[in-house]
C-alpha cells in the first residue's frame, strides 16, 4: 500500500513549495533514499519524500539516521536553508525513526554533483572520561532531567540521549541526590500518519524507565532508584526536544530527589 502511494507521488512536485512555508511541522512515513554524496566521513545524504505532497526532503540532520531497508517516521520542521548540500529542501530539526516492520527496497542515488555535508561534531556529544566532570555550585534543589527516544523503542540515541544523561550525571555528581525517580512515557494515543495508525505500545513506558534506570545505576552505583510509567501521551516544553511534539512525548524524566 505504502509502496504504491510512493510511486504515484514520485514525479517531482515543485521544490519551492517547501521553502514557502518555513517552520511548519511535517510528519510522514516513507522509504528513505540514500544519496552517495562524499565530503568525507558521515557526509552522505538521507532523503525522504512526503507521500502527501510528493516533496522529497533532506532529513540528514536527524540524530538517528535511517536504514535503507526500512521505512522511517519523519518528523521535522521546514526551513529556508539552501538545498545545496543534498539537492532537497532541508528539514531541521528533524527525526527519522526506523520502522522495522515496514520493509523498503533499498535505493541509492549517485551524488549528482551534490556535496553532502562535512561532518561536524554535534553540540550534544558526550565527553570522554579523560575530561574532568564540571562541578556545579549549590545550594541545590530537586531537579528533573529529560531523555528522548525514537518512535517505538527504548534505545539511547547516540550523541543525543547519552549527552542528555551525561549532563544530568555531571549535575548529580555535585548535587548528590539521595534518590532518583525515573518515569518513562510512551506516545500510546493512536494517530494516523501517511495512512497508517501509529501508536507506541503502553508497556514501552516502563521499558524506557528501566533502560534509563540501568544506566543511572551504573553511573551512580548504589543510588536509590524508583521507576514509574506513564503511557498517557503527554509532552514537555523542554528545549532539548527541539520543538518536535512527537519527540517531546517519547521520553524519560529523571527526577533527582535531594
Amino acid at each position: 500500500m505504502l509502496r504504491s502511494v510512493l510511486t504515484l507521488a514520485a514525479l517531482a512536485a515543485p521544490l519551492s513549495a517547501a521553502a514557502a512555508d518555513t517552520g511548519s511541522l511535517l510528519r510522514f512515513i516513507t522509504c528513505p533514499v540514500y544519496r552517495d554524496a562524499d565530503s568525507g566521513k558521515k557526509s552522505g545524504c538521507w532523503l525522504a519524500e512526503d507521500p502527501a505532497t510528493g516533496i522529497r526532503y533532506d532529513v540528514s540532520l536527524s540524530p538517528h539516521k535511517p536504514d535503507w531497508n526500512y521505512a522511517v517516521l519523519v518528523e521535522g520542521r521546514t526551513t529556508a536553508q539552501p538545498e545545496t548540500p543534498c539537492g532537497a529542501p532541508v528539514l531541521d530539526a528533524v527525526r527519522t525513526s526506523r520502522l522495522y516492520d515496514i520493509p523498503c527496497t533499498r535505493h541509492i542515488l549517485p551524488a549528482e554533483g551534490y556535496p553532502g555535508r562535512r561532518f561536524v561534531l554535534p553540540r550534544r556529544n558526550p565527553q570522554p572520561t579523560s575530561v574532568p566532570a564540571p562541578s556545579f555550585a549549590g545550594p541545590f534543589v530537586d531537579r528533573s532531567f529529560t531523555v528522548y527516544f525514537e518512535f517505538g523503542n527504548d534505545f539511547l540515541v547516540y550523541q543525543y540521549s547519552d549527552w542528555l544523561i551525561q549532563q544530568a550525571y555531571y549535575w548529580m555528581l555535585s548535587a548528590k541526590p539521595k534518590k532518583l525517580i525515573i518515569t518513562g512515557f510512551a506516545a500510546s494515543a493512536p494517530e494516523t500518519v501517511s495512512g497508517r495508525v501509529m501508536a507506541e505500545p503502553a508497556d514501552l513506558a516502563l521499558q524506557r524507565a528501566q533502560t534509563v534506570a540501568t544506566t543511572m545505576a551504573r553511573l551512580l552505583p548504589g543510588i536509590a532508584i524508583e521507576t514509574r510509567a506513564d503511557p498517557s501521551t503527554t509532552g514537555t516544553s523542554d528545549a532539548e526536544a527541539d520543538g518536535i511534539p512527537g519527540q517531546a512525548q517519547r521520553r524519560v524524566e529523571i527526577r533527582a530527589v535531594l
Binding site: 540514500y34 552517495d36 562524499d38 568525507g40 566521513k41 558521515k42 557526509s43 552522505g44 538521507w46 536527524s62 540524530p63 538517528h64 539516521k65 535511517p66 536504514d67 535503507w68 531497508n69 526500512y70 522495522y100 541509492i108 561534531l121 558526550p126 570522554p128 572520561t129 579523560s130 525514537e150 523503542n153 527504548d154 534505545f155 539511547l156 540515541v157 547516540y158 547519552d162 544523561i165 551525561q166 550525571y169 533502560t211 540501568t214 544506566t215 543511572m216 551504573r218 553511573l219 552505583p221
Partner: protein, 503 residues
Amino acid sequence: MSVSGFRMAAMVAPALGALAMGAGAIAAQGGAPDTWWYPGSGKTFAASQDYPNAQGTLRVQVEGGAVKTRGHAFFEPLGANGRACVTCHQPADAMSLSAATAQQRWTASNGHDPLFAAIDGSNCPILPQDQRASHSLLLERGLFRVQLPWPMTAWNGRPVTPDFDIEVVRDPNGCNSAPGYGPKAGNISVYRRPRPVANMKYLLAVGFVFDPKQGFALPLSPEDGRMMSGNIMADNRAGTLRIQMQDAAHGHLQAGKPLTDAQVRQITDFEMRVFTAQQTDAHGNDLSSMGANGGPNHLRVSAPGALGAIGTPVWSEFAAWEKLSPEQAATLTPKQLEFRKSVARGARVFREKMFLITDSAGINSRIGFGNPVRNSCVFCHNMSQMGNDVAPGQVDLGTTTMPFADSMPDLPLFRITCRGRPHPHYGRVIYTMDPGFAMTSGKCADVGKITLQSMRGLSARAPFFSNGLARDLRGIVDYYDRRYSIGYTEQEKQDLVNLMSVL
C-alpha cells in the same frame, strides 16, 4: 540435519589439502623452534626481547624489568595437560600463536606437544588424536575449539534466556552433534584464534562511560565496581582479566581447581606489564627512527583509551615519513625509502579512504549512524596507538556469518532462528559459523558480532580475524574490499599491507 563427524571429516580432507599448499606463504612467520617458550622452562622473561619474522622484527617489552618465570602462574603448567598460558600466548607470536608456529610444533614434537591437547587443540576430542587431520583447524587456521554453554551465561555467570534457537546445519568435526556435544547436550563449539595478551591497558581502557552500540552505560566489574571496557574476548564473555583467566585455567589448562588469589595477582601483573609491536621492518628500518614512533616503547609510555578522531590520529606514529628531508632520504636505499613512504600513505588510506559500510550490526544498527554510512577503516578501529574500538567493539563484520563470510567447509555451520524481532540485516533466519557476542548477550541482534582486536604485532600472528579467515595481511585487505565493495587501487592495497606489517 547434522552429519556424523567422521564422515564429514573425510569429506573435508581435500579442502584442507588445498589450504596446506598455501602454507608456504606463512611458514616464515612466528616463532622458529628455538624461540618456542616451553611451559615451566624456568627461564627469565627478559625486559626486552626481539623475535624475527618475515616482515622484520617483533619486540616484546616488559614494563618494570625482567620477570622470573619459575613458579609464575602464567608460565607454569598448572593443569592436567601440561600447558601453561604461555603455550598459546607466545612472545615470538606477539603473545598470540600463529598457525605457522603450530605447524612447527607439530613437526618438532611429532604431534605430542601439549599444545595439541584433545580438549581444544584438536578439531574435537572424539577424533583419533594421533592423526594430523584431527588437528587441522589449529594447524591450518590457528584455531582452538571454544566450547560454550547453551543456553548461555553472561560475563557475570548469570544464566541468559536467548531470544533465538540454534540448530546445527554442518558439523565436520563432531563437536556439535556427537554424544555429549552440541546444543542438545547443552553446549556449542566454535573455533577461534587466540587473542594477543599484550598492550592490555588499551584493551581495558574506558574512554567513554557509554556503550553506544548497546545503548547503556558500561556495566560495572563485580570485582572493584568500576566500569568494564567490554573489549576482551571475541564474544566478550569475560568482562575482566580475573574472569577471563579463571575460564582459561579451567578450559585451556584443565586445571583441577581455580587459580588462587596470589596466582590471579601474578598473572594480572604480568599481563598489564607486557607490551609488543613490530620494531624493525623487512628492509632493516628501525620503526622508531626518523621521527616515527613505531615499536612497543611508545605503547608503554602513552596513555590508553583516547579517540583518534579528537586527539592523536590513529597510526600518526608514521606521519613523519610523509615528508622525509632530502638528507634523511639520502641515508636510505631506494627500497627503504619507498617502503617508508608506503607505510605513511597506508596510514592515510586507513583513515581517509572512504567507503560505504553496510549491514554491519553494531555500526549500521541499532546505533543511528545510518545504513549505509560513509566512513573509513578508522571508524571502527578508532583508538590512538592501538586501533581497537574505544567503545566496546562488538561489530558484525560478516567474518563468521553468511553470506558475507568466505566458505569454510571445515568449520561448523549453525542456523539461528530469531524468536522475537528478526535481525535487522539478516532477517529471521541466520546462518553462522560463530554467533560471537550473541553467545554472551543471548540476543539474535548480536549474532556474528566479534570484538575488535588490537592491531599490534600482526606480522607475528597470522592468520587473522577470529576464525582465521584471512591467511595473511593481504587477505585482510581483500576481505574488506569484497565486503564493502571499496575498490582500493593496487597501490592502496599494498600501502595498507605495508602499514599493517609494521604495527
